[in-house]
């Protein structure tokens, strides 16, 4: 279980000094591992709680991005479903989950996060969004549907620290 991982936590030793991807703790210590039953679920809670997002959650854990997703935010997460990951060429996900590809994985995941919190209707006001990857993604409106970076929003769940938009495709960065 995610919240039980801090058994091995160390605080002042074992720095993740050279890790080039940002995160607030490869040591499973921090807000992500603080659980309560009173607060509104945050974007990480929502992803963890969804049986349709086990691939995404595995990726977040592999990239040690949990603490970034529970911060005060606001954060808007475009959460590809397991089916969306399945549409990628065979072996892509397995490859990204390898420890040596952690940076690349983190970059792709950050490409699915926007600092901000906008519902689907409100997103129609935007032409582009600036992602945590430092790249922009286009926003397109087709009828009632909103596409972000080519991925269609198929459900939206407000979170305590932002909003999760479930999307039907993985949004790949240009580089």
């Amino acid at each position: 279980m995610l919240s039980c991982k801090n058994n091995a936590a160390t605080e002042t030793g074992d720095t993740n000094a050279d890790a080039p991807s940002e995160n607030a703790g490869t040591q499973d210590l921090g807000q992500a591992f603080l659980k309560d039953d009173e607060a509104t679920p945050n974007v990480l809670d929502i992803a963890v709680g969804s049986p349709d997002h086990t691939t995404l959650v595995a990726a977040v854990q592999a990239a040690n991005l949990e603490n970034a997703l529970v911060n005060a935010g606001p954060l808007m997460v475009f959460a590809p479903t397991n089916a969306a990951f399945d549409k990628l060429p065979e072996g892509t996900v397995e490859n990204l989950l390898k420890p040596e590809n952690k940076d690349q994985l983190a970059f792709i995941l950050k490409h699915h996060v926007t600092p901000g919190k906008y519902d689907k209707e409100f997103l129609k006001k935007f032409k582009t969004l600036g992602q945590a990857s430092n790249e922009n993604v286009p926003v397109e409106v087709k009828g009632d549907d909103v596409y972000v970076g080519g991925a269609k929003i198929i459900a939206s769940i407000p979170a305590g620290n932002g909003i999760v938009h479930v999307v039907d495709a993985v949004i790949l960065p240009s580089n």
Binding site: T15, A17, A24, D45, G49, N71, P115, N134
Partner: protein, 654 residues
């Protein structure tokens, strides 16, 4: 919808499973501290002194707190912008004028950025300057008394955020407005913002002898939001740099509308050029209302003066005064390295840091290589002024400090960490988590030419599980990291007063030798002061009564007063006759609609009591002054309004 319900149900299921505690963490924390000697590094033995003072702002508390580093021990909370019943700040008659403004008495503000005075680019430890955001003000704290001795209001400003930073000889304390507003204020539609609202940058000249503040001039700028600022130093002395956002000039739904432009600006202001323009008579005097409040250590009283004019320079009309450096993604922090060569812009929605080169900026200006203009102010080309980019350093960069060894330390709010990187190569060298949501960082001396690069303090907005819980509101905190080695090491968490927004630190020996111990009684020029018990008296003027009272261990003089009547306004002017270090006395009167007084040796303070009921009412000393503190008390007899009982006062007469 069905899908959403499915998610929520799934979440509830998981929430039940996610109940295991973090008990094991305590054990590992202790092991970590022991194995790394963190405890030893922050331990200051009883009776020994800390190596540094840290002046940590209280944010929304409106006050400035004084801590020791590395221990994190709290020494004093200096009242600045908020009334403080503990010290009678803003309650006693002497300090009420300090909180006067053009809007009247304003008993609170939001104190953000302390900065320590400098001489030749080095901290001289004479004064700390701080800004009040809400009703724009700058305050000066005198580091001989650790008291606020001056507050100046800033006209044409609103949300005084990019303040209060000092130039390297404390020529100026500089303040920029966060909100642009109509200048002068007028009744116009909010939607007419664009082009009609302006931002004012204020340059407050500092008297080199006594630190006196004088609003020398303001620079009228386009209607952007001015976020943070830092002075040039060394080669760039004479310039001041301000980060801007909302160059879109939006006035509503800022979280969307102020993030439309891919780049905003860092405004580079040539203040030496401003002085030339003023000498050439190019400044325009315009009407303005602002308060200037000064506390005098001889009279122990403050005065408030409303000023009515300010000298304005219009950046749109005066060439060479301001240039705009494009900077990505709504830059927040705007920090200048100790050499003055690099200006670091932190786009708060960015994963990168942008570093501008002062030399390249000068070359681009020389070559007149501009990329258009904004309201007549030249915009330089991004690539022409860029020194480098710290790529993918973290998420949500805010503020950068420097260790004087060629390294920079940047806080990242969203990824909640401090990242060490190298100036010149722009490579990330180290990163450490912050618990949680770090705002500013502070390295003692970090805003000077020679930082004391031993510690960095991270100031966090959120602590959640870091301390014993205290209901919904839990403390904010500071975290101390040792930065003397290649890798940072977290040494200590300590709770703070209010929001630890920003801080300034200085080596203790520079300051402590100047700290005053007492106020000399013979120098007390308070109009109601008395120099000995023989001068105590009670004087009636209509229904106003002045009590000239003294304190000395362990009695008040007088301690029996008769002849006071219902409806009187009784002013107790209390002089502490003690001339010993650390022997304050206090006083409080039953039913007085104000705070206690806390009076330092040699000082006079005044509170007002308006008795409403007939009777005999006691007062007592509120500071535990001596073994007979509990005997330090007295009575006031209150007679009916029409009573003919004459005034009398005494001590020790039956």
């Amino acid at each position: 919808m069905k899908k959403i319900i499915h998610f929520i149900t799934a979440f509830a299921f998981f929430a039940m499973l996610l109940s295991c505690g973090k008990n094991s963490q305590n054990g590992t924390k202790k092991q970590g501290a022991l194995s790394s000697n963190a405890a030893e590094k922050v331990y200051v033995a009883p009776g020994e002194y800390d190596e540094f003072y840290a002046f940590i702002s209280g944010g929304f508390s409106g006050q400035l707190a004084v801590y020791g580093l590395p221990s994190g021990r709290l020494f004093k909370v200096i009242p600045v912008f908020s009334q403080d019943a503990e010290k009678a700040w803003g309650y006693n008659e002497e300090t009420k004028p300090m909180l006067n403004t053009s809007h009247g008495f304003v008993p609170w503000d939001d104190l953000h950025h302390p900065d320590i005075s400098q001489t030749n680019g080095l901290l001289d430890g004479r004064w700390v300057f701080v800004n009040g955001n809400n009703t724009p003000r700058i305050a000066k704290i005198d580091l001989t008394t650790f008291e606020t001795t001056e507050i100046i209001e800033l006209p044409n400003s609103a949300g005084n955020h990019s303040s209060s930073f000092v130039t390297e000889n404390t020529e100026y304390v500089v303040a920029g407005t966060r909100f642009s507003v109509p200048i002068p204020q007028k009744d116009i539609p909010i939607k007419d913002y664009k082009g009609n609202f302006k931002g004012a940058l204020s340059f407050i000249a500092i008297d080199p002898e006594d630190g006196g503040m004088d609003l020398k001039f303001q620079i009228m700028m386009p209607g952007f939001d001015y976020d943070l600022a830092h002075p040039g130093r060394g080669a760039s002395h004479g310039w001041f740099f301000f980060s801007t956002y909302n160059t879109e000039e939006a006035s509503t739904l800022m979280e969307v509308n102020a993030s439309q432009n891919d780049k905003d600006f860092i405004a580079a202001v040539n203040w030496k050029k401003a002085e030339e323009y003023i000498s050439a008579g190019k400044g325009k005097k315009m009407p303005a209302q602002y308060a200037h409040n000064v506390y005098n250590d001889q009279t122990h009283m403050a005065t408030s003066t409303i000023k009515d004019e300010v000298l304005m320079l219009d950046a749109s009309e005066l060439p060479g005064l301001v240039y705009l450096l494009p900077t990505p993604k709504s830059p927040h922090g705007c920090d200048v390295d100790p050499s003055g060569q690099y200006i670091v812009g932190s786009g708060k929605l960015s994963a990168n840091l942008t570093v501008h080169s002062f030399q390249k900026m000068l070359a681009a200006i020389e070559a007149k290589n501009f990329d258009g203009e904004a309201y007549g102010i030249p915009i330089l080309k991004f690539d022409d002024v860029l020194a480098g980019v710290v790529d993918q350093a973290g998420l949500g960069p805010l503020h950068t400090e420097f260790d004087g060894k060629g390294n920079a330390y940047t806080s990242f709010f969203i990824s909640s960490e401090v990242v060490k990187w190298k100036l010149g190569t722009w490579e990330v060298l180290d990163r450490q988590p912050c618990y949680y949501s770090v705002g500013h960082l502070m390295i003692p001396g970090g805003n000077s030419r020679e930082p004391f690069g031993q510690y960095v303090v991270a100031m966090n907005k959120i602590t959640k599980d870091r301390y014993l819980p205290t209901g919904p509101e839990v403390t904010q905190s500071a975290q101390l990291y040792d930065i003397s080695g290649d890798k940072m090491e977290l040494l200590l968490d300590f709770p703070t007063v209010g929001e630890p927004h920003y801080a300034a630190g200085i080596r203790a020996d520079i300051v402590m030798k100047n700290s005053r111990k007492i106020f000399k009684l013979e120098e007390n020029d308070h109009p109601f002061a008395i120099k000995s018990e023989s001068e105590t008296k009670v004087v009636r003027d209509g229904n106003v009564v002045h009590v000239y009272m003294s304190t000395i261990r362990s009695h008040f003089s007088p301690d029996n007063i008769e002849g006071i009547k219902v409806g009187d306004k009784v002013y107790f002017h209390v002089t502490n006759l003690e001339q010993d270090y650390d022997v304050p006395h206090g006083i409080s009167m039953i039913g007085a609609n104000t705070s206690e007084l806390l009076i330092m040796p040699g000082q006079t303070e005044t509170f007002l009591w308006e008795p409403k009921e007939v009777g005999v009412w006691p007062f007592y000393c509120t500071d535990f002054c001596s073994a007979l503190h509990q005997e330090m008390q007295g009575y006031v007899r209150v007679s009916p309004a029409g009573s003919a009982l004459p005034l009398s006062w005494s001590l020790g007469e039956d």
